[in-house]
Amino acid sequence: MRSTLDFRRPLLIGGACAVLAAGGCKNEEAKPAENPTGAVFADFAKRVDAYMKLRKTLVDSVGELDPTKSQAEITTRATKLASSIIAARAQAKPGDIFTPEFSALVATLIKQEYSRRPDSVQETREDQQDELPDFVPKVNTLYPTTYPLATFPATLLPLLPPLPEQLEYRVVQNYLVLRDIEANVILDVMPNAVPS
């Protein structure tokens, strides 16, 4: 399992460059600092890393969770962790992690990935729209447990920066959501990220 971030992963950058078809992407592995995509993703990495540092201190206070027969123990621990995160990030607002620069880049990646999909995939996705949760996601709140977690488009994930295993991306309506899995807390939201 992955526990650390590697935002200079060649596959990722290569994929992003291919999708963006932007000039200046050819030598980004050798000179990542000169690549605008790499710089935006590196900034995102720093923001995620800052959250993970905060999270670690909170996890230390509630304890790590090991497999248990007791669902009550899992629920109690998740609730405690969520409360700690929400309290510690009381001032959190949209864009803290998904910065405008990051959002613009990712929205373009997603849009271009969607436009390249064959008709059969488009039709399938349309058929599956009814599975998408229809609530409005808000930063620093719990993901409502009454909604399913929509399947994340498998062909899209390789284009996005990897996350620590404690976090994940999700799609809610046309929002891209960053979610703390164990705590079930929405960390940031990106409106209009996913084509309707």
């Binding site: 497999p67 009550a72 995939v121 599956q128 447990t145 399947t151 994930l157």
Partner: protein, 282 residues
């Protein structure tokens, strides 16, 4: 009116249900025997009725473990929900020591990986071995590059064992929502490359068995509690389909053969057969 008519049909069918479990599996010495169920965790009456048939068949066909194809717990996941939607309906099986090996569905909180009775060991995906069979439990909700890398490595290392993959979303189905073609795009090449023999999925609340697609047998077994009546459609790719009631599947692997039978909520056998593994098929 419709519900009364439906109830009448169920009543007639129950009256006509066989008294003894009709097991068509060979029960060979040393074979690997297991149960397959999908989309089970409603806590509703139908889940309990299907569970009763599992117990009934288990008396004649003693299986040792059950693979769950996701949507293990629908709706809220409070401790009392795990009781009503899992431990109570399957109490008899759990008391007998039947091991439940769950995959995660789109209705499942990923924290289910910490719930010991689901045997995920804190992970979203894993592999385990029973006899000469290697199972790959995949999280099809979130196929990140890390998981695909893991799968590639584990499939490569699985050698000559039977290879069975299971996860929530079907790569092939005739159901209304259609196959998960994006999931198929990333998983199927690996399955073909490493010779996966059989794939089990749920998600669609029906039963379907496909003719081999690129050499792989695909089953959808998503009706252990919910039902989308009339949601399978004729297709030349299908070997069997059933969408008139809930169902689960019993399987036995002995040597190079996988024997199976699919059982409905009233205990009727709705499909059965034997599959040969890759390399020994005619």
């Amino acid at each position: 009116m419709r519900s009364r008519f439906g109830a009448a049909i169920i009543a007639v069918a129950l009256a006509a249900a066989p008294l003894g479990a009709q097991v068509y599996l060979p029960m060979k010495s040393g074979s690997v025997r297991f149960l397959v169920l999908g989309d089970a965790g409603t806590g509703g009456r139908e889940q309990y009725e299907v569970a009763n048939q599992m117990v009934r068949y288990g008396k004649t066909f003693p299986f040792t473990f059950a693979i769950m194809l996701g949507d293990n717990i629908y709706g809220s996941e409070r401790p009392q929900d795990f009781d009503r939607k899992f431990t109570r309906p399957y109490k008899t099986l759990l008391d007998k020591g039947i091991e439940f090996d769950a995959a995660l569905g789109n209705h499942d909180d990923p924290n289910q990986r910490f719930y010991k009775p689901f045997n995920l060991g804190g992970n979203r995906y894993r592999t385990f071995k029973k006899g000469n069979v290697r199972f790959f439990v995949i999280d099809s909700n979130y196929l990140d590059p890390e998981q695909l890398k893991w799968l590639d490595k584990e499939l490569a290392a699985s050698g000559s064992d039977w290879k069975i993959a299971y996860f929530h979303h079907p790569l092939y189905t005739t159901a209304r929502r259609g196959p998960e073609v994006e999931v198929r795009a990333v998983l199927e090449p690996l399955f073909v490359k490493y010779g996966v023999d059989v794939v089990f999925s749920g998600h669609e609340h029906i039963y379907e068995r496909y003719k081999p697609q690129k050499g792989i047998y695909y089953f959808t077994v998503g009706g252990a509690a919910k039902l989308r009546r009339g949601d399978t459609h004729p297709s030349p790719l299908l070997s069997a389909r059933f969408d008139r009631d809930r169902s689960f599947l019993l399987a036995e692997i002995a040597g190079d053969s996988l024997y199976f039978q699919t059982v409905s909520r009233i205990g009727a056998v709705v499909d059965k057969g034997v599959l040969a593994r890759r390399g020994v098929r005619p």
